[in-house]
């Protein structure tokens, strides 16, 4: 029984490398060359996806967020986004809110870390003060939407453990389905299932399971475009909450890579200067 199971995983893992010729070549881990466990395969995919995203330096973009409820109401938020890659640590990112008007100029700065808890500060222009957000999790609703901060950000590989499940068709492509379990036991999710195409390792869908392991939310990605001949970015991210029937759509525009940004643009003092 156990034997057959192992073999089937092996077969799948082997199949993965048939479909991932690039992966097999690029990841020079001896553990992966022949027979690897689903955990190792999952981790390898996550590392590879992360690696393909490495080295972009920094980028800026605009984001529109549209919230919908069961009653059919809609509400819109607008913000600008900047992110800076940090060697050896998590990215630093900055959201500057433009809409609604009352939060215009409010800015959220996040220093994410590989395993330690992230740091977050919010600049309140009406108070002209920077406030530190010391919540122990970042899984609460982001601006009343169905996204949490955690759901929107590019996760660090170290924040999850992985298990490769299977390959299956996703639209025109073939996707690997990977299960990831948050390392942080305080996370609001018990696990996530991630669909990534085997060709470019773009994420197309994520299923979020809440702490009682029921399927709470589904995130789908659309409108991928490639920048600098390398980096893929989705134009639209749609999160549906299956429990409440609410949904949120994020639309990303004006992606710009390689702007003149440095660590000083992502400091607490810089927060006061954003407009």
């Amino acid at each position: 029984m156990t034997d057959r199971c192992c073999r089937c995983f092996t077969v799948r893992a082997t199949a993965l490398f048939v479909l991932f010729p690039a992966l097999a070549g690029m990841v020079a881990s001896p553990a992966l060359t022949q027979e690897s466990s689903p955990e190792e395969t999952g981790l390898a995919i996550a590392r590879e996806a992360n690696a393909r995203n490495d080295g972009f330096g920094n980028l800026t973009a605009s984001m529109t967020m549209v919230l919908r409820n069961r009653q059919g109401q809609e509400s819109r938020r607008q913000m600008r986004f900047k992110v800076l890659e940090v060697e050896g640590d998590g990215d630093k990112s900055l959201f500057v809110f433009d809409q609604p008007r009352d939060v215009q100029g409010t800015a959220l700065l996040t220093h994410s870390h590989l395993t330690a808890q992230d740091d977050q500060w919010l600049y309140l222009p009406a108070l002209k003060r920077v406030k530190r957000i010391s919540s122990s999790t970042r899984s609460g609703s982001f601006m009343g939407s169905e996204f949490s901060y955690e759901d929107m950000s590019n996760p660090e590989v170290e924040k999850y453990t992985y298990r490769y499940l299977r390959n299956e068709r996703c639209g025109e492509l073939v996707c690997s389905v990977n299960e990831q379990v948050p390392v942080d036991r305080k996370s609001s999710y018990s696990r996530q299932l991630v669909w990534q195409d085997t060709d470019q390792l773009r994420t197309w869908m994520v299923h979020y399971y809440d702490r009682k392991d029921s399927h709470l939310k589904t995130l789908t990605f659309a409108g991928y475009r490639q920048y600098l001949d390398r980096y893929w970015r989705a134009g639209e991210m749609t999160m549906e909450n299956h429990l409440t029937g609410k949904s949120t759509v994020l639309s990303w525009t004006d992606y710009e890579f390689g702007a003149d940004l440095g660590a000083s643009d992502f400091s607490q003092t810089a927060l006061r200067r954003v407009r």
Partner: protein, 764 residues
């Protein structure tokens, strides 16, 4: 029916009696096989019609914020306050487990209450209590102080005296599998509490909430279907045996009951009908009516045999005489029950339709199966003495002799009883629908007594513009509105958004109590809110209190022990307050309690039409039958007044009545009108043959007196059994209908004859 045709039918029926029994058995078995598909619902929402405007308003509110069902758990240490490591630990454990409950969407408790405080330029947001075991005594005192001063907690999550704490779990069960989901999560909650009780013997745990009520709802349905039905069955059979004094007669009643109920409930099953406590009485009502109808045929067969007729002749005569009156009685009963379709509350449609179908089955079976059975089974009677004077002969004489005093003796008490109607107060309260035999009711009572109210009014307060909820004017208005509610005696707790803003403003000013007030600048308030929202952990966000456009907030007002009337008055006063002080916010109260507080009125209104249609139809039937407009109308008196007298008596005895009241009149009308039909048919027969009014009364008493007494006894016994139901709607319906049947009997025997003798002086 053409008499010759009827005779041919009877002759054929008796000849092929075995075939008839076999055929009927086959039909019944095929129908009854459907019974396995009957299901019991636990969703109290089925009480409300789809186009119920109060329900629509509540749905809109839930769609704007978050739809949910709730379970409320009270944690009550046997001694002292809840601020001990043991009790807080128990609450923390329960909170954690509640998150694991299936379909749970949110958990609010004393321990996970989001406490916010300032620490320099940091805003610290987190659960009030964490890792209880490690708390020091001074930590406990700090928690007690914070909780005792938190307006968001006291009166809901914490009793005023600190001795009971609450834990509210919101659930969003999937619509498609609602019933199964409710069962599943109730089992989970039970297991959770069993474990908590075992682990903390020093603490009592209580549980209520609509999700728990739904189980009680299903339980009550099951109890009525499974426990009351056999009681009624044996009672009715016993009564039938006593009256008929014939084992075969009683046995044939049993068979009739099995066939009629089996066929009616079988059809319900084939149609995949879902039963609820409101209509769990279908088999009981069908049983009572079955016996009441078929007893006429059996009685008359036995009477004819006592007179010396041979069995087959006796059966034939009984059918000849009874075919038309039994048909009419069935017709009027069917009309009465079908008119329940006018009700705003769908379970009453099911009740009406299946009882009507059952009555139609009874008619068919009593015209085929019953005579065949009587013909097959051995039937022996003692011959009667030819000059025997029955009780009802003497009674007829008495009524004729004392007609004047009787008129007064009946009219005066009737008027007195009718006056009692003014004492009736319409009141519906979902928890109180359940008798104290249900744990749900006992726990609800404890929680109402010791922690918080269970009735609530929900308001969606719209600022009129996107992002407008942080407008200082809006905040002041909702704050004043909440303060107004807090000053109302009925109100125990108000949850309002302005409290959160006050708390945040204080946090932003180094927790200086002087800043516990509303921020004066909109942009500042919005930014505070943004900061707070970004700090809130998963599962305790504000999305169930604030709409996505930040244009409206939801305010919840909790009341304790409030009647429908008080509930409506409070809503009216609130509306007036809004008009006078914040006209831009004007809105209506909504919520489950509000819908329920209107349900009886709404049903009475919808049933008024149904009642009118039924009465018109039945009166038309009577006019046609009696071939007289005058008698048709006169016959309405003994049928209208009894329902009024029952309500009056109810007014004196109990006062409050709920949704059952809306259907009593029409249910009773279809049944009691049968007595009048039987009585007046005989009366008119005598009159048309030349007798005086007094002669006709004597004749009517001697021919149908006993049969009417029998049906009244059977029917009122059947309906009275509902008094043993633990569900108020069934209980009230049963008692009211039973009273009406008995009053109708009295009216037909004591009021109608004197009236006839007083007004019917013309020659026919």
């Amino acid at each position: 029916m053409n008499p010759a045709l009827l005779d041919r039918y009877i002759a054929g029926l008796l000849r092929y009696r075995w075939l008839v029994v076999a055929g009927a058995t086959l039909v019944m078995l095929v129908m009854a096989a459907g019974g396995q598909f009957i299901t019991v619902s636990n969703d109290h929402r089925i009480l409300f019609g789809e186009d119920n405007p109060e329900l629509a308003a509540y749905d809109a509110l839930e769609n704007t914020y978050t739809a949910s069902n709730t379970a409320l758990i009270a944690v009550a240490p046997k001694q002292g306050t809840v601020f001990t490591r043991e009790t807080l630990g128990a609450i923390e454990e329960l909170t954690e487990q509640a998150w694991q409950a299936p379909y749970s969407s949110r958990v609010d408790s004393l321990t996970n209450y989001t406490h916010s405080e300032a620490l320099g330029d940091d805003l610290i947001v987190g659960p009030l209590v964490e890792n209880t075991a490690s708390l020091s005594d001074s930590d406990l005192r700090r928690v007690e102080e914070i909780a005792g001063n938190a307006i968001e907690l006291v009166g809901r999550m914490l009793a005023d005296d600190g001795r009971v704490a609450g834990l509210a779990i919101n659930f969003i069960p999937p619509k498609e599998t609602h019933d199964a989901a409710v069962v599943e999560l109730n089992e989970y909650l039970d297991g959770m509490l069993t474990e908590a009780r075992a682990g903390h013997p020093e603490i009592d745990f209580y549980m209520t909430g609509d999700i728990v009520m739904q189980r009680a709802f299903a339980q009550a349905t099951q109890d009525d279907l499974e426990k009351l039905t056999p009681i009624v069955f044996f009672l009715i059979v016993a009564v039938a045996f006593l009256i008929l004094r014939s084992i075969t007669g009683a046995l044939s009643m049993v068979v009739m009951i099995l066939f009629s109920v089996g066929t009616a409930m079988g059809l319900a099953g084939w149609n995949h009908t879902v039963f609820s406590p409101v209509n769990a009485g279908v088999p009981i009502i069908v049983m009572a009516i079955t016996v009441a109808q078929s007893v006429h045929i059996s009685t008359m067969t036995l009477t004819a045999m006592r007179r010396g007729l041979d069995k087959m002749e006796a059966i034939a005569e009984s059918l000849r005489v009874n075919a038309f009156p039994v048909f009419l009685a069935s017709l009027t009963t069917v009309i009465g029950f079908l008119s329940l379709n006018a009700s705003d509350s769908p379970p009453f449609h099911t009740l009406g339709n299946y009882v009507a179908f059952g009555v139609a089955c009874t008619f068919v079976y009593s015209m085929s199966l019953l005579p065949s059975l009587l013909a097959i089974l051995p039937l022996r009677v003692k011959l009667a003495a030819p000059d025997e004077v029955t009780f009802f002969n003497r009674f007829g004489e008495f009524v004729v002799a004392r007609r004047k005093p009787l008129l007064w003796l009946t009219v005066i008490p009737a008027v007195f009883l009718l006056l009692g109607i003014s004492r009736i107060e319409l009141n519906d309260n979902l928890p109180n629908y359940f008798g104290e035999r249900y744990e749900f009711r006992r726990h609800s009572d404890y929680i109402i007594e010791n922690l918080t109210g269970l009735e609530s009014q929900e308001y969606s307060l719209n600022s009129g513009s996107e992002g407008g909820i942080t407008d200082p004017r809006y905040l002041q208005q909702i704050d004043a509105f909440a303060e107004w509610f807090r000053s109302q005696p009925e109100v125990t707790y108000v949850r309002v958004f302005s409290d959160t803003m006050k708390r945040l403003n204080r946090n932003m000013h180094e927790d200086d109590p002087a800043y516990y007030r509303l921020p004066e600048d909109q942009a500042l308030a919005t930014q505070y809110l943004l900061l707070y929202e970004l700090s809130l952990p998963f599962g305790v966000d504000l999305n169930d209190r604030i709409d996505i456009g930040k244009s409206s907030t939801r305010m919840s007002v909790v009341m304790r022990n409030i009647t429908s009337n008080e509930q409506q008055q409070l809503a009216r006063r609130a509306r007036e307050w809004l008009q006078d002080n914040a006209s831009a916010l004007s809105t209506e109260a909504t919520g489950l309690s509000v819908i329920v507080s209107h349900i009886t009125e709404r049903n009475i209104k919808s049933m008024l039409r149904g009642t009118l249609i039924a009465m018109t139809l039945i009166s038309l039937v009577l006019v046609v039958v009696f071939k007289s407009l005058r008698f048709g109308i006169l016959s309405l008196i003994p049928n209208f007044i009894p329902a009024g007298m029952s309500f009056g008596l109810w007014g004196y005895l109990f006062g409050r009545v709920g949704i059952a009241a809306s259907v009593v009149t029409v249910v009773a009308f279809g049944i009691i009108v049968d007595d009048t039909i039987h009585f007046l048919t005989k009366y008119l027969k005598s009159r048309r043959e030349g007798g005086s009014a007094a002669d006709a009364v004597r004749y009517a008493f001697s021919t149908v007196g006993k049969a009417l007494w029998t049906t009244t006894a059977v029917l009122s016994a059947g309906f009275l059994v509902f008094a043993a139901s633990g569900f108020e709607v069934s209980w009230a319906l049963g008692i009211l209908v039973a009273m009406t049947i008995m009053f109708a009997f009295l009216a037909d025997f004591l009021l109608l004859p004197p009236l006839l003798m007083a007004f019917d002086r013309r020659k026919l």
